[in-house]
């Protein structure tokens, strides 16, 4: 559906994107992850046609973004980092304006705008001036404008930044609704990793202008090859620690209250149980922790 091939972007002498290529299929919900300044927004702006790439090619459903910008732009919905709203318009006026701007057929506009207002929970505020809305509601208006033209691809640039915790949950639920009920293809840029694992199926991790990983989130979790085993014991912690040190597959042992967190290359729970019985440590709990996306991220980007 969307293909980036060998895209390079320079800002003056600064290399913002270094030869990136990837492909996104219809129906994918992709998290676009990376530290600040890694090239996320630049990539999104190139896909949406806001910038042209210095080199390389972006095609969407077979159309080249720089050669056929108008066709591509009418099929994409985009929410920039700050919602692009005109404060002097009401929510309804603004969404009608965007629908017209995106060249929707005139007879469908009113119905679609009403529908989008319903989906994004803006019904009670539809006749409010945007200048009078809170940040969370403005963000909803931003999301509403990005879907008003029924886009095949929805690109959201950090949609939950700067919102309070309740608003964050609301916006995340809204995005989930869009992905699950409306079956849209979504690229979501964020640096909140829990958000990515909650909403998305796949993730692209970008760092210093290069793609460092692109896979399903479960597969990415396995990338760190670490097993993280947490044990709680009652006594003899030093004896047990000495015994554990002799195991070659252990990479790190961290102490915690009444126990250890053990990082190992393989699942050595059985060994640990055996050693703690030998050491008479009074093992009362052992569990294998799932690798978090944070750990993967730190490993790849840190």
């Amino acid at each position: 559906m969307l293909t980036l091939s060998n895209v390079v972007k320079y800002y003056g002498d600064f290399l913002a994107l270094d030869n990136i290529s990837f492909e996104i299929n219809s129906g994918d919900i992709i998290a676009f992850l990376g530290p600040n300044g890694s090239g996320k927004t630049t990539t999104m702006r190139i896909i949406t046609g806001f910038f042209a790439p210095t080199e390389g090619k972006v095609t969407f459903e077979g159309y080249d973004v720089t050669e056929m910008p108008e066709i591509v732009k009418s099929k994409i919905g985009y929410l920039p980092e700050n919602p692009p709203v005109y404060p002097e318009l009401t929510v309804f006026e603004y969404l009608t304006f965007v629908a017209e701007l995106k060249k929707m057929p005139h007879n469908e506009i009113k119905k679609r705008v009403e529908n989008v207002i319903e989906i994004t929970g803006l019904k009670e505020r539809q006749n409010f001036l945007i200048s009078s809305l809170s940040k969370g509601y403005r963000q909803r208006v931003g999301i509403a404008q990005s879907i008003v033209n029924n886009p095949d691809l929805l690109i959201l640039d950090e949609p939950t930044v700067g919102l309070d915790p309740l608003q964050v949950i609301e916006i995340r639920n809204l995005i989930k609704t869009l992905s699950q009920e409306e079956k849209r293809t979504i690229i979501l840029s964020t640096h909140i990793l829990s958000e990515a694992s909650e909403i998305c199926e796949k993730a692209i991790i970008i760092n210093k202008g290069k793609i460092v990983a692109y896979d399903r989130i479960e597969n990415l979790r396995n990338l760190t090859s670490n097993f993280n085993i947490e044990i709680t014991i009652k006594r003899n912690s030093n004896v047990l620690k000495n015994k554990l040190m002799n195991l070659s597959s252990i990479t790190e042992i961290k102490e915690k209250d009444n126990g250890f967190i053990i990082f190992a290359k393989e699942d050595i729970r059985e060994e640990i149980v055996r050693l703690s019985v030998e050491a008479d440590s009074g093992l009362i709990e052992i569990k294998l922790n799932k690798t978090t996306l944070e750990e993967v991220f730190v490993k790849l980007v840190g």
Binding site: K73, P84, E88, E100
Partner: protein, 235 residues
Amino acid sequence: MFAIYKKELKTYFTSMLGYLTMGFFLLLSILFFNGYFLGLRNTNDFSGFFSDLNTALLFIMPILCVRILAEDKKLSTYELLLTSPVSSFEIVFAKYLAVLTFVSTGIVMLIFYPVLISFFVYVDFRIVLSNILGIFLTAAFFLSIGVFASAITDSYVLSGIISFGIFILLFILSSVIKSIDQNWFVFLKEFSFIYHYEKFVSGLIELKNIFYFFAGITLWLFLAKSLIEVKVWKS
């Protein structure tokens, strides 16, 4: 393109900026009318009245123009516009047409004064219309410069200073070269907007003078459109 035009027009007719500038312009027109026609003078010569208002417009228009594209850059609606299926020329032209429509509303209202005077003395409406056409074309010309200035930066102040600077520079240059008499340099006069505007003041509507303003408008709007495109390709 029509969507942007409609939205911009609404902004002018419903915003404080629109009301204040229009109010100020109409107030000036009343004051000038008072100065030129009321009292004991029995005149039907409108050229001074219209020329003064035309000069006043040069000071009002930069205020209207600063927001045109600079505001979008500030509000990040610039990203909305540039990621929508409209060309950069459509964006520039729609915004230009909207501000021109707004200013023209004010100019058209000036016809009220000659109509009022015509109840008392004979008024040659051909000259009046020629004057109004002259003001309209000058305003259209300067608004295109304002759009260009607004495309340069996202700062209102800077965009205002740039357009005002170009206005004043053109005004001074035009006044100077208009009075050149040496044979070799007479052609320079053709570059002076005042030289062309004065033809309309005297009631002379020539294609050449209309063409001058259209060429100027096309040039500045083309430059504004190119500035937007340069940013897409070069930034």
